[in-house]
Symmetry: C2
């Protein structure tokens, strides 16, 4: 890439609507390579490989779509506890590409496993053969176009050549940039925490943009830790933490064929044995993992296609969490709410509309609505203190918080989304041209 990464890095870190992100650095057992396979017409990295020299335990959650991409189909067949590499390509979703699309992945897996076996032999004098079914794939981009197997295969030697056993903050940003499609900003997050008395790292990158609802959509999220955690415990931790993070964001109500969020544990830190995901020793790790996932998920929502504002919708004091979720997503997915926010119009009537259509029984007389700290509706009526100018002023902020209080229970849910702008239409009506 012909850009100055150091400058880019500083400008990203300064200008993010979501606040700065911390530097990701070296994490034992993870090697990152990126390259440009010319999948886009423009010159940018579009292939990213994560290589786990000692293997990694892993767990993933995938799209709920009934039409899944070929790489998801491939990954679902992987039954190895440890995998050796994850290869991510952009521009082509490898969805609805049929047998040829799946065969393409097989060719790539065979080639990549051979090349990695070779590399391992030279660098580490390890004779073990890496198998094709130790490779995971992640694809994102246009659906239904022929999968560019040959273009990708041609660039595998380059990816291998670039493997370094020590990572730095720049290679993480390159990886986060390399997996983007129409996103504008790379998304990175990190935490450090303890398992027993051992300090471990949790690093993550993500991509999002359109099709972000529900259950992740075109979201890709990859989280890495040097902790020693089994695949089954990783699976449990990921499933629990995804609900209020990646499954709490919405861009446009569309869902992709390719979603995946994965976690990889290299086991380089020898922490104490863990019995289950509920093991007390995991409590710090668990909350840190939640923060990494939430941080990434929020960055995905904030950078949703055409977004000019980041919107947090908290629905509280409901009878059930499901009620709270229905209402928060009804608001988060309402084009009328989202366009009003784009227009900086405190059109709270549309929030009422979205609450009403959520199919949740409620007592309108108990309803409270706030925009930021401004009470809009109290006891089901326009607040006596309501001042349109004050509300209009609040709508100029870049982060908009909407709080809905049903005063009928103790459950809550928070959804994250962005406004709906002309830019969204521009991006999506011109996507392929």
């Amino acid at each position: 890439m012909a850009i100055n990464l150091s400058n880019l890095f500083n400008s990203i870190n300064k200008n993010s609507k979501m606040g700065d992100f911390q530097d990701l650095d070296h994490i034992d057992g993870v090697s990152i390579s990126t390259t440009c396979a010319n999948l886009y017409s423009k010159n940018r990295d579009d292939l990213v490989m994560f290589y786990f020299r000692k293997g990694a335990n892993h767990a993933s959650v995938y799209t709920q779509s009934k039409l899944i991409s070929e790489n998801i189909r491939w990954n679902l067949k992987i039954n190895k506890k440890k995998i050796k590499a994850l290869l991510i390509n952009t521009r082509n979703a490898n969805a609805f590409t049929g047998k040829e699309g799946f065969k393409g992945l097989k060719i790539l897996a065979e080639n990549l496993s051979q090349e990695l076996t070779q590399k391992q032999k030279i660098d580490e004098q390890k004779p073990e053969k890496i198998q094709p079914n130790e490779i995971l794939f992640s694809c994102t981009g246009t659906i239904g176009e022929m999968f560019p197997t040959e273009k990708i295969k041609k660039n595998i030697p380059e990816l291998i050549k670039k493997i370094k056993y020590t990572q730095n903050k720049y290679i993480w940003v390159k990886a986060a940039l390399g997996i983007l499609t129409t996103d504008l900003k790379p998304k990175l997050a990190m935490e450090e925490c303890y398992i027993g008395n051992k300090l471990v790292k949790i690093y993550g990158i993500a991509k999002g943009s359109g099709m972000i609802f529900p259950n992740m959509a075109t979201t890709l999220g990859f989280v890495f830790t040097d902790a020693t955690i089994s695949s089954s415990i990783l699976k449990q931790l990921l499933k629990e933490n995804i609900q209020k993070t990646f499954n709490a964001i919405s861009c446009d109500g569309d869902t992709s064929t390719n979603d995946m969020v994965s976690i990889f544990a290299t086991g380089e830190v020898s922490n104490s044995n863990l019995n289950s995901s509920k093991d007390n020793k995991l409590s710090d790790f668990n909350s840190s993992l939640f923060r990494v996932l939430l941080n990434l998920a929020k960055r995905v929502a904030a950078d949703g296609e055409g977004a000019s504002k980041f919107i947090t919708i908290k629905v509280k004091n409901c009878k059930t969490e499901s009620d709270a979720k229905k209402i928060s997503f009804s608001i988060a997915n309402s084009p009328l709410v989202k366009t009003a926010i784009a227009g900086e119009d405190p059109n709270w009537g549309r929030v009422i509309m979205a609450i009403g259509k959520a199919n949740v029984n409620l007592n309108s007389k108990k309803l409270f609505i706030k925009f930021g700290d401004i009470t809009i509706v109290e006891n089901g009526k326009l607040a006596t203190s309501y001042n349109e100018d004050e509300a209009a002023n609040y709508m100029k902020e870049e982060k908009i918080d909407i709080t809905v209080n049903l005063n009928s229970g103790k459950k809550e849910f928070t959804a994250y989304t962005m406004d709906l702008t002309k830019k969204y239409i521009e991006i999506n009506s011109d996507y392929r041209t």
Copy 2:
């Protein structure tokens, strides 16, 4: 209104994307008045009254929202079999206006019923008093603003003054224009049909624009017939025919607090007695009513906010109608499909995405997709005959037909929608300013 209705009428009739509409004319027992109560800052009719001098049997279907407007609350309390008038105002939805909003309707109903009683006494020497609970209300516009009771009340004498007992095509267009909010075009439809050997008329007008899903949303639809049909039969006919007409359209997935579709029968034509909605003598009327409702519903979709294209989505050969409906609305409500169509991009991958996210089990190998007459997907793969240029050329049409064939059953559903354009964002981010 300072416009030449005759010119307007001709230009509307010539330019409609939905084809010409036929002239609505006189229908016995219906009187229409329209006036400008200055509810908008601009000079336009915003109050429309339908007066039924001999009363009318009636039936309505209303929004499914859990937060309904005050006029819907009023209408739901009406238990009179015959009503005397329907008053429609725009600009203000009378939703979330609380006790004051409801009280405003009471004041208007009392005033209007008195004035109509007076009118009846003078014109027809009828001594019967018209009651407030013989008046129905329909409101559309902004939610949560104080209901302009006084402004409307002041204009009731004008509405009364304008009552004529013979209608013509111009007054129907004025009525259809007077109920619009952000719609661009008046929506009218008509049929004539037989009940037994008696010719009867079915006339209808509608408004739509945003918030058009599901179950009608900000749609208002009013249908009038001179047939003699009981309110209970009208109710049954309306409920049956609404499913594949007004409940088959979607604009943006939003649902209003104010939706209502009503049918009124003046009983001026003495057709033979009817036993039930299944009475054989009603078969011609039933299919004519369906055509009127479908015609209006399509016009609503075609004039959805910012629409540049009218889209018909037919999903066929499904196991259940519910499956077909889920898939058709998943496509109809997908912002990514709708923006692609706005961009005239045959991005069929997004149709795949929308099918996949509909949560319907399907065999992708049996899937066929057509755009117009062009086969895009056959047996779950890109058609061998597929030619991107040909498809791109088709996307330039104003009417786009998408057919999805699951080849797994015999049920089908057709949804109607429009594309998603920058204009939609413009309309909805500037709505109140």
